[in-house]
Amino acid sequence: MAIVPNGPVLALRGISKRFGAVQALTDIHLEVHAGEVVALVGDNGAGKSTLVKSIAGVGPADEGVIEWQGKPVQVTRPHDAQELGIATVYQDLALCDNIDVVGNLFLGREILRVGVLDEVEMERRARELLQTLSIRIPSVRIPIASLSGGQRQTVAIARSMLGEPKLVILDEPTAALGVEQTAQVLDLVERLRDRGLAVILISHNMADVKAVADRVAVLRLGRNNGIFDVKTTSQEEIISAITGATDNAVTRRKARSGEVAK
């Protein structure tokens, strides 16, 4: 594990957010350190996406403090988050199908040479970036449409790396991916951690969480419902924190079918 300075990269203190009559987030606390993968889990509607949006500046929180490297900061626009070094990879891949890999990696931050797109430099940098992240795709000059789901996701993540972020937020990166592609993405998440980045991973897939996360933060109905160390916590404990009780549909089902045959 690379450089792990003291103190969290990002700390959320008492984040609250309200949509009309709905209190989406209530007094959320969360800390993320460099070189650490924190999984953010919770049922649908638990407030995961809302929390991420407040960090990414898409939907700022109503109350609470965001501390970045120990200093309180204002994140009211996506631009603010990018300036700080927060990169967000959204669930529905933010890639353009009709543009090639290089074009997508540099979309919105094209490298120019005397006012003209510098395709050569962009292609060179793209190859370098994919190489350092050990991402293998057939060619950097084929349209995104030709890539598999996993390859697209890795390109989307690689894209977030171009801004040299300190924190990467991945919103369900393995949803809708096959076994092999999921493994590729999880590999990539580990490489990000090994490079000293802080990672927030949103996932519904407990296997993924167990595989790569260091800590698991559980949200339930817009509140903190425990932060667990993955190594010392069983999957059942996390699930009961997510669902809010030990007696729930998941455990009942497991009890019926005996030991988990997963």
């Binding site: 009709n98 094209e110 797109l117 050990s134 030709s146 092999e180 493994a183 999880l186 490489r191 296997a207």
Partner: protein, 438 residues
């Protein structure tokens, strides 16, 4: 826990190839991406590789400009067989001038289609621009240059207005521009007033736009030489620079073949044009506009943003692209190009009339862009498709006029060609999907 991923080995994908370990500490790897996906069909070196690659592209539905070029060849062959005057210098020269008017409008349409939208108002805008020019210049005695600028500005402003309603207010582009089609046609009639048709003086600068020829032999051949040399140089320098930093580049043989093909076309055109009155100014203007706007689309970040919007609006927005500004600017450009086209058409006809910008002008402009290979579905296309599509449409109407075929039949045939082009677009799109290319 069997679902746990083997962290040290980096998953099944890495097992197959020799990976450099999950944590690649060295950020700069000189040998670029060495491990290539074995499933990828890598192009072989040299000219043979170029041919196999070409064949594969054809089969996978990446047809590019091939169907149009084949279409033009067939059309020309048929008409030439029917009437030997078709490929005569005069007819080709007239055709080259004819292209410019509708072609300019079509270039604007290409931009709108790249966004994945449509602009139905360009015909009316072109008519209004011509009327503005004629009324200011002829009726009010405004100097020609200023009148032209005013006409162009009016086109750009009207386009921006459409863009504003579409991008900012959120009215579907189809409806906004349909309203524009009606409204600007009405405004044009009002501007022209009771006079109806306003003639443009024969010795005027506007008239010269389509009436002037560079008659010295050197003009056409010189232009052909500049085009060929410029093309070769651009390709060669790009290839050399790519080689220098160690990324795949075009082999010299391929560049030479491409340059050769271009040279044959432009020198043949120059020879044919010189047989008549020389290089028409209208053609020079049209090709210059095409070259500039093609450069804008392919090599500037603005063009990249337009294409990105055609691919995925949401992705573009998240990449920090100002969606509203790009959309308004594209509609404004479409309006500007419509005004350019309107002026060129008025120049060729010699007047601004109440019929300007009506009839099948709009449909021809859109059809040209689509026939030329720009997708109706957004994000794919080229500025050059305006030229190729206009060559098809212009050749058909010119050839039919030569043969004395009635307008009614011409419309039906042009309609059939448009349908064929859209079918090719849709089918090639589907093939590309299955071949993973589109």
């Amino acid at each position: 826990m069997t679902t746990n991923v083997d962290k040290t080995n980096g998953g099944p994908s890495n097992g197959a190839n020799k990976a450099s370990g999950p944590a690649d500490a060295n950020p700069v790897a000189k040998d670029a991406v060495t491990v290539v996906d074995p499933r990828l069909l890598v192009r072989q070196e040299g000219f043979k590789g170029y041919l196999t690659e070409f064949g594969r592209k054809m089969r996978s539905g990446d047809l590019g400009a091939v169907p149009v070029i084949v279409g033009i060849a067939i059309i020309w062959a048929v008409f030439q067989a029917k009437d030997s005057a078709f490929l005569s210098p005069k007819n080709l020269s007239d055709l080259s001038i004819l292209l410019g008017g509708t072609g300019m409008i079509s270039v604007g349409i290409v931009f709108v289609l790249l966004l994945g939208e449509i602009d139905l108002s360009v015909g009316s805008v072109s008519g209004l621009a011509a009327a503005t020019l004629a009324v200011l210049n002829v009726n009010h005695g405004v100097p020609e240059g200023i009148a032209v600028l005013a006409a162009l500005a009016s086109g750009a402003a009207l386009g921006a207005l459409h863009g504003f309603f579409f991008a900012k207010i959120g009215v579907p582009a189809f409806v906004v521009t349909l309203a524009g089609l009606l409204a600007w046609n009405g405004l044009m009639l009002q501007v022209l007033g009771t006079t109806g048709t306003i003639s443009i003086a024969d010795d005027s600068f506007v008239r010269d736009l389509t009436a002037h020829y560079f008659s010295q032999l050197i003009a056409a051949y010189g232009a052909a030489t500049v085009a060929t040399a410029g093309f070769f140089l651009a390709q060669f320098l790009d290839s050399r620079r790519r080689k220098a930093v160690g990324i795949p580049s075009r082999p010299l043989s391929e560049i030479l073949v491409r340059t050769g093909v271009l040279a044959v076309i432009v020198y043949a055109a120059a020879w044919r044009l010189n047989e008549y009155k020389g290089l028409p100014l209208a053609l020079v203007i049209f090709v210059a506009v095409l070259v500039i706007l093609d450069f804008v689309v392919r090599r500037t970040s603005y063009g990249r943003k337009v294409i990105a919007l055609g691919g995925s609006v949401e992705a573009a927005r998240r990449a920090g692209i100002n969606v509203v500004a790009i959309r308004i600017s594209v509609y404004s450009l479409a309006g500007l190009m419509a005004a350019c086209g309107g002026i060129m058409i008025a120049s060729r006809i010699g007047s601004a009339s109440q019929q300007a910008g009506t009839g099948n002008l709009l449909m021809e402009a859109i059809a040209a862009a689509v026939i030329g290979g720009t997708s109706l579905f957004g994000g794919r296309g080229s500025v050059w498709s305006a030229l190729l599509g206009m060559l098809v449409i212009g050749s058909i109407s010119s050839g039919m006029n030569l043969l004395g075929v009635a307008n009614s039949v011409q419309y039906m045939i042009t309609g059939g060609v448009l349908l064929a082009a859209v079918v090719i677009d849709s089918v090639s799109r589907r093939t590309q999907r299955s071949a993973g290319r589109g």
